[in-house]
């Protein structure tokens, strides 16, 4: 068995070497696999993730590759396009493992695709480090080979609740007097976000005055916002992918809705500052990562350095924010490098064991996996839109700016 494994690795390495001669002749090639959405409805973010993988691979190879003893390996990634469909993703994972003999996998884009692929990697005992699936349903199935560098979805807006409690205390109000209005899209991701919010609301004893679930295929929330006008909550939380963010931003403006604190997800993806600049002033937006955070590591440098170098390598990002989807994809590759070097071998079981012990600082944040495989060392950060810019206001340890409250 050990023999066949070695054979597999050397043949993969040899094939890859033939394909890319000369340049890195000193190191062998280690190929990771990923099914990723290059076409279909997730294609935009699929490309963001792929670019993140590619950038990390390039950085690692430029810095001498992955080192095991006195040998070194240059990383490469074999991609297949999963067309944004879970069934295709699972098929391609089988193909990567059975035909291409991939032993280490990088994740696809979105929770849905990750959910489809995780059972496959689990079946073949292939470690997968994923960066784009945040649903908590991924981490209650007892998967042993799944590791996620990002914060899970129920953490997305939970911090806005504690922030509201903090503000209330300062204003001389009890948290129990705070009225919260919630509008979440009726899909697994947004309902995860909702679950986290509800947990925290219970913890503080706040009152939920509106709890609407927005239909998936409709971009209208006027009835919900009419209720908001009638009930005057202290905090409005909305989550519904970029469609929800765009709809909320547009209709809050159109309907002249005044709430002292508003928190929504997917602000950047929906480009709300560009499209609804006047309305969204003071909105709180959670993010996995921001280039202004003080995280750093040896490979990528600081978060802002990552931002700068990535824009250099991919000029199409020059005039926009580097999305966190890209940063976390890079972090996933970096975690693999670290774990392989710690394991001191390419053996997938040993790499898997090394992954469980990862405890590292990266430009993307601290990474330490729980028993279930999710990253428990990195918090979600809340940014407030101030003067058209995203400024980090919570948690206070990373805050670069004061919270403006109430928003105008």
């Amino acid at each position: 068995m050990v023999f066949t494994k070695k054979l597999v690795f050397s043949s993969v390495a040899a094939a890859a070497l033939l394909a890319a001669p000369a340049a890195f002749a000193a190191c062998e090639t280690l190929t990771l696999g990923s099914a990723i959405s290059l076409t279909g409805k997730y294609s935009t973010n699929g490309h963001h993730a792929k670019n993140g993988y590619e950038f990390a691979v390039k950085k690692i190879n430029d810095a001498g590759g992955v080192k095991i003893g006195d040998k070194c390996y240059n990383l490469a990634v074999k991609y297949y396009d999963d067309e944004s469909t879970p069934a295709r993703g699972a098929q391609l994972a089988e193909r990567l493992i059975n035909q291409d003999k991939i032993q280490l996998m990088l994740g696809p884009y979105s929770s849905g695709l990750t959910k489809a692929i995780a059972p496959v990697t689990e079946k073949y005992k292939i470690p997968m480090v994923e960066a784009e699936g945040a649903s908590r349903s991924l981490f209650n199935k007892g998967y042993k080979y799944l590791f996620a560098v990002l914060s899970t979805s129920e953490q997305y807006l939970a911090s806005s609740i504690s922030l509201a409690a903090e503000v209330a205390k300062k204003a001389g109000k009890k948290p129990g007097e705070i009225k919260v209005a919630m509008a979440f899209e009726n899909d697994p991701f947004s309902l995860d976000v909702r679950a986290g919010v509800v947990d925290d609301i219970k913890k503080f004893g706040m009152k939920i005055v509106i709890d609407d679930k927005l239909p998936r295929d409709l971009s209208d929330m006027t009835p919900t916002l009419t209720k908001v006008k009638a009930l005057k909550p202290d905090l409005l939380v909305v989550s519904g992918h970029s469609k929800g963010a765009a709809t909320a931003a547009r209709q809050i403006g159109e309907q002249n809705v005044k709430v002292p604190m508003v928190a929504i997800t997917h602000c950047e993806a929906a480009n709300v500052t560009g499209k609804f600049g006047k309305t969204v002033e003071g909105f709180l937006c959670p993010t996995q990562w921001a280039e202004t955070l003080t995280y750093k590591d040896d490979l990528f440098g600081s978060a802002s350095n990552y931002d700068k170098e990535f824009k250099g390598a991919f000029p199409s990002y020059a005039d926009k924010l580097v999305p966190y989807q890209t940063a976390q994809a890079s972090a996933a590759v970096y975690v693999f490098k670290h774990a392989i070097e710690q394991a001191g071998t390419l053996d997938k079981e040993k790499v898997r064991d090394a992954l469980t012990k990862v405890n590292m600082k990266t430009f993307y944040g601290d990474i330490k996996f729980s028993e279930a495989g999710n990253n428990i060392a990195k918090p979600m950060v809340l940014r407030q839109i101030q003067g058209g810019k995203y400024n980090v206001v919570a948690p206070s340890a990373f805050a670069s700016h004061e919270l403006q409250w109430p928003r105008k």
Partner: protein, 303 residues
């Protein structure tokens, strides 16, 4: 349950919110009515159930959006999308619809379903899957201390939808082509015997439908958001409206569209947004049951 009662009591104690919901519903319903209107034409005249209806809407939306990116006000997208989709509809008719029109129901369903997929993917390749919205730069009218708001862009959408619907109704009543379309809808063979070029009538009807959808899409890009895969929403709504109103009944389609908009708003307010669609579909079911009972009675009389 207590939230539902609470919401009802808001409507009771502050009646101004009823007005707000009614106005919003009418303005939203007008846009739904437009795409349903086109479907009623195509369904009634050609007996083609066009599943790509919503995707025509999205194309219109992207036309207005692209124009707004290039510094042209998206309102001009309404006529431009109307004309562009007219041409597109004609090409689609010649390439695809003409070939399936005499076939059975499933052929036309399959063909238009395939067309829908192709349009979605092409839009996705051209414009990526990001959600987009064209900014018309309008404000809102504030009434009753800002409790009732009328977004100007929705009002304009409502007026344009009304003008378009009126123009089409007058056209169908008075023009030569309109008469030919109605004649073909009543009896295709008889129309042909009377010297009507039914192929031309079909091409015209299908193009008109695409054009109306395009105009609706341009409005939607300003009022809500567009995305390559959001077309299906409008297809479904168009089918619900037409099924409820009956396709021979164009004013009925408009009334059903408006009614659907209003009921959605009230349903969403009282029961919660998650029931917005359930109410619409539930209502459709009710209409169908009532119709069934009525027709059963009619059948007995005939017997």
């Amino acid at each position: 349950m207590s939230q539902i009662l609470g919401n009802l009591s808001i409507l009771w104690q502050a009646p101004v919110f009823n007005l707000s919901l009614l106005i919003d519903g009418l303005m939203i319903g007008a846009v739904f009515a437009l795409s349903a209107y086109g479907l009623a034409l195509v369904w009634g005249v050609m007996n083609v159930k066009n599943l790509a209806q919503g995707d025509f809407v999205m194309i219109g939306g992207y036309i207005a959006w692209v124009m707004s990116l290039n510094g042209i006000h998206p309102l001009f997208g309404v006529p431009v999308a109307f004309v562009a989709l007219w041409g597109f509809g004609w090409v689609i008719y010649v390439l695809i619809i003409r070939r399936v029109i005499d076939q059975d129901l499933f052929t036309s369903l399959l063909a238009t379903f395939g067309l829908a997929i192709v349009i979605e993917q092409v839009l996705n390749i051209l414009f990526t899957s990001d959600t987009q919205t064209a900014d018309a730069g309008f404000d809102s009218f504030l009434l009753f201390d800002g409790l009732v708001t009328i977004p100007q862009v929705k009002l304009i959408g409502f007026i344009l939808a009304a003008i378009l619907a009126l123009a089409v109704i007058l056209f169908m009543k008075n023009s030569r082509m309109g008469q030919a379309i109605r004649a073909t809808a009543q009896d295709e063979r008889a129309a042909r015997v009377m010297g009507i070029d039914t192929d031309k009538v079909y091409a015209f009807t299908f193009s008109l439908n695409a054009a109306i959808c395009g105009a609706a899409g341009a409005l939607i890009s300003m009022i809500w958001v567009i995305q390559p895969f959001f077309g299906i929403t409008y297809s479904i709504r168009a089918f619900v409206v037409v099924t409820a109103a009956g396709f021979g009944n164009l004013p009925g389609v408009i009334a059903a569209g408006l009614g659907m908009g209003v009921i959605e708003q009230f349903g969403g307010f009282i029961l919660g947004a998650e029931f917005q669609q359930a109410i619409v579909v539930g209502l459709l079911l009710l209409v169908l049951i009532v119709r069934q009972v009525q027709q059963a009675r009619l059948r007995q009389v005939v017997q």
